[in-house]
Subunit: 260 residues, 2 copies
């Protein structure tokens, strides 16, 4: 089963399009929300996984927050994600070339992940797609990010077309399992036209959508276009809630309703 | 002391512009060169650090090959690098936004690194520069990569200028400690004109140059332009040599000669 199939099976199993993004901030790290003082990061993450599992089809672990945990701890997280009937995404935004990307994908596989995110900066998406396939992992390249600074980047002209379209075509050629598209909102630069264009280029791919919840994006137009191929990521609004299970249920239901 | 000052001090101390890039491949990982069977990755890396130290000013750890080692093990590598009078670079090619980049930089600092590489895909180099400064780490954005697939990317037009020039200006504005420039060779697309242009935009920044040794690039034109600001990275040609110390000495001397 490839990652696309694993995701669609999890959606059926959980009756949910929700992906919970876990990025455990330590007290020293951020002035805003963070893990409670004195908890073990692995234990805390396991407790979130268990709490949200009934309402959630995927867990995305934000690699940059997990640089301190051991190989065994990382495996235990992925084992739990799978035991709870969900798929797991390594949000590494891999951005290298050749053997280094292969190493990143190899280790993600060793850790038990099902997919890995990828930043197509060096231009070698085709090679990364083949490497991911060889390791049995889904590759999820960034295509349309919603941060303000990406507005200039997405419009850069490459071979006469805007970068995001070029990247979407590369992702299609690489047979990427999915792509990343930020949720459009009145406060950002993502347009429905751009999303529709990318959807035409990638009629089968999954879309991982960050920027719902805390970041305030609107998921409805994406759900209308991509349906159950939408991996709707919510992070801090769930993991730092007083009751993560209840919050996950609320988002699961909101997604079902928005999908109509 | 910022990273630039640390590097220049290490260059004086070691009388060397050599950076040794360590990417320990496991037997299962690559058909080419790899660590000897049955060795411990941390111990093997420590032995390389010790062997090359007399001839080497910096060690670059390729993060995607170290995903399995513990926080303590990573700290022990950086402690040894510093005890041996060298600076340490986390080759993570961080490629995210906001709090996630901050987390990556925070953890690199916790691990004892002096600098971190950065892939400026999402467009937020300015923010990453400020974050790196706040954590006391040097930021090293990719600007001119030498892989064939980057030829199209570097020439993408952004605000009417080629991407690599835009990225060089962003790096300058972000007060990045250094940038990455691939070594030019007859077999790749990097030109002296491009390098000179970037050098004019960044008259103070360090340049980290992969692609010497195994990848066959020519370091001489870069040395002529950047002098002691050149962090000349050699990886597999040294770490997988029968005698890594001897090989490091050979490269150190070659660099001194090429610099003239």
């Amino acid at each position: 089963m490839d990652f696309r199939q694993k995701w669609l099976a999890a959606v059926q199993r959980k009756n949910s399009l929700l992906c919970v993004g876990i990025d455990p901030a330590e007290a020293a790290q951020r002035h805003g929300k963070q893990m409670p003082d004195g908890v073990n990061k692995t234990d805390w993450t396991l407790s979130i996984i268990d709490a949200v599992a009934p309402y959630t089809a995927a867990i995305k672990l934000n690699r940059n927050y997990f640089k301190d945990i051991s190989r065994d701890a990382m495996r235990s997280l992925n084992d739990r994600i799978h035991a709870q009937g969900m798929v797991s995404i390594d949000d590494s935004k891999l951005a290298d070339i050749g053997d280094t990307n292969d190493a990143g994908i190899y280790h993600a596989k060793q850790e038990g992940f099902d997919a890995i995110t990828y930043a197509p900066f060096p231009g070698n998406t085709l090679q990364a797609g083949a490497q991911a396939k060889a390791h049995g992992l889904g590759l999820i390249p960034l295509v349309l990010m919603s941060n303000p600074e990406y507005q200039l980047m997405k419009s850069a002209l490459i071979q006469g077309e805007p970068l995001y379209r070029f990247l979407a075509k590369q992702a299609a050629e690489a047979q990427a399992a999915g792509i990343v598209i930020g949720a459009p909102s009145s406060g950002n630069h993502i347009t429905i036209e751009e999303i529709s264009e990318v959807a035409r280029i990638l009629p089968e791919a999954l879309v991982l959508v960050p920027g719902i919840g805390a970041q305030g994006g609107d998921i409805a137009p994406i759900l209308r276009i991509f349906g159950q191929r939408t991996i709707a990521n919510v992070g801090r609004a769930i993991i730092y809630a007083q009751d993560p299970a209840q919050e996950a249920k609320t988002y699961r239901d909101m997604l079902a309703q928005a999908r109509g």
